[in-house]
């Protein structure tokens, strides 16, 4: 399937590059619908990998790359279930999103996240599964999960730890603060900073460069240098699920969902 248009995203293969466009208003929140579309991508990857060199992930939403997990859906879904069933549902969701992101992570394609605006929580974790992050000057990265009584659950900590120094990981995780693209570049999270609105153009130029190389060589290089932190990813799911059963989490989610003030995205 060279082209696909789903409820929340679309992809298109052209000239050796797959462009995956996230397009779920208002800010590409990752809920069940996007998970299902991402699973379709994962299923299509073997065929795409036989024809392409690179894959670009970007957003068609003005707000940014992705604001993260769909917390409203998570809260409302959990409210309808008893604690045990809610925890089971969360674990199932995490297992599925991990399977998708792990598959993207190890794809032999050179994967590039072209980021603008908010890149928070689960959205940040999607970007971290990619090989390169190319961000425009207005991009912002954040793990706000601690304010909900949680840790990032889509593989964020092990992947961030794989890429940058543990001190910066602790700063981002334990303060929940957001950083801009320039800071991201300085700490080694972002590989290129583009002018405002130019991240996709820069990502396309980078992807075009990858089409010049032998695919098998590029895939071997990636396999050598980018290892999947499988054990830590498993641990993360367990820690998240353990934390999720605490009453403080539901209270944090309720506050976020019911927050009508101007600060819901500020940790």
């Amino acid at each position: 399937m060279n082209d696909y248009k789903g409820q929340t995203l679309a992809w298109r293969l052209s000239e050796g590059v797959v462009e995956l466009t996230l397009d779920r208003p208002p800010a590409n929140e990752i809920g069940l619908a996007m998970l299902e579309d991402l699973e379709r991508l994962a299923a299509a990857l073997p065929a795409l990998e036989s024809k392409a060199s690179a894959l670009i992930v970007h957003s068609n939403q003005k707000a940014g790359f992705s604001a993260g997990a769909d917390l409203r859906q998570l809260y409302e879904g959990a409210q309808k279930l008893d604690a045990r069933a809610a925890a089971k549902g969360v674990r199932e969701f995490l297992e599925r999103i991990h399977a998708v992101l792990n598959r993207l992570d190890v794809s032999p394609l050179t994967t590039i996240a072209a980021v603008h605006g908010v890149c928070f929580g689960g959205g940040f974790e999607l970007a971290l599964a990619c090989d390169l992050i190319i961000a425009d000057k207005m991009a912002r990265f954040c793990f706000p999960e601690l304010r909900l009584g949680l840790i990032p659950g889509f593989g964020g900590i092990p992947r961030l730890k794989r890429d940058i120094g543990n001190g910066v990981v602790r700063d981002l995780l334990l303060t929940g603060r957001s950083i801009n693209a320039t800071k991201g570049l300085a700490v080694g999270l972002v590989s290129q900073v583009a002018a405002e609105g130019e991240a996709l153009r820069a990502a396309r130029a980078t992807a075009a460069q990858t089409t010049k190389f032998d695919r098998a060589t590029a895939a071997a290089a990636k396999k050598f240098i980018k290892l999947l932190p499988a054990e830590e990813l498993r641990q993360e799911i367990d820690i998240f699920c353990e934390l999720f059963t605490r009453p403080a989490v539901m209270e944090g989610l309720r506050k976020f969902v019911e927050n009508a003030g101007p600060h819901p995205y500020l940790p």
Binding site: V118, R140, S178, L266
Partner: protein
């Protein structure tokens, strides 16, 4: 080193330019959420523009609860 007055002026100039509000309508004590008509995502955009303009880092928690230009400028001043 900029004075706090210079920093405040630059904050007001930047806010007026990017959020398309007449500069003369903005005062240091104004609530920027109300005056600029911005939501939380746009507040993050303002934060990023200010960081880029002044070449500083402004941790979110230092500006949480801040809603007027003058206080925002003082937070920036402390990072210059």
């Amino acid at each position: 080193m900029k004075t706090i007055e210079q920093t405040t002026d630059e904050v007001l100039d930047l806010a007026a330019t990017h959020f398309k509000v007449a500069r003369e309508d903005l005062q240091p004590g104004d609530d920027f959420y109300k005056k600029l008509g911005i939501d939380s995502l746009q507040a993050l955009e303002l934060l990023t523009r200010l960081e880029n303009h002044f070449n500083v880092e402004l941790p979110d928690y230092e500006v949480q609860g801040v809603s007027d230009f003058q206080t925002l400028a003082s937070r920036i001043q402390a990072r210059l």
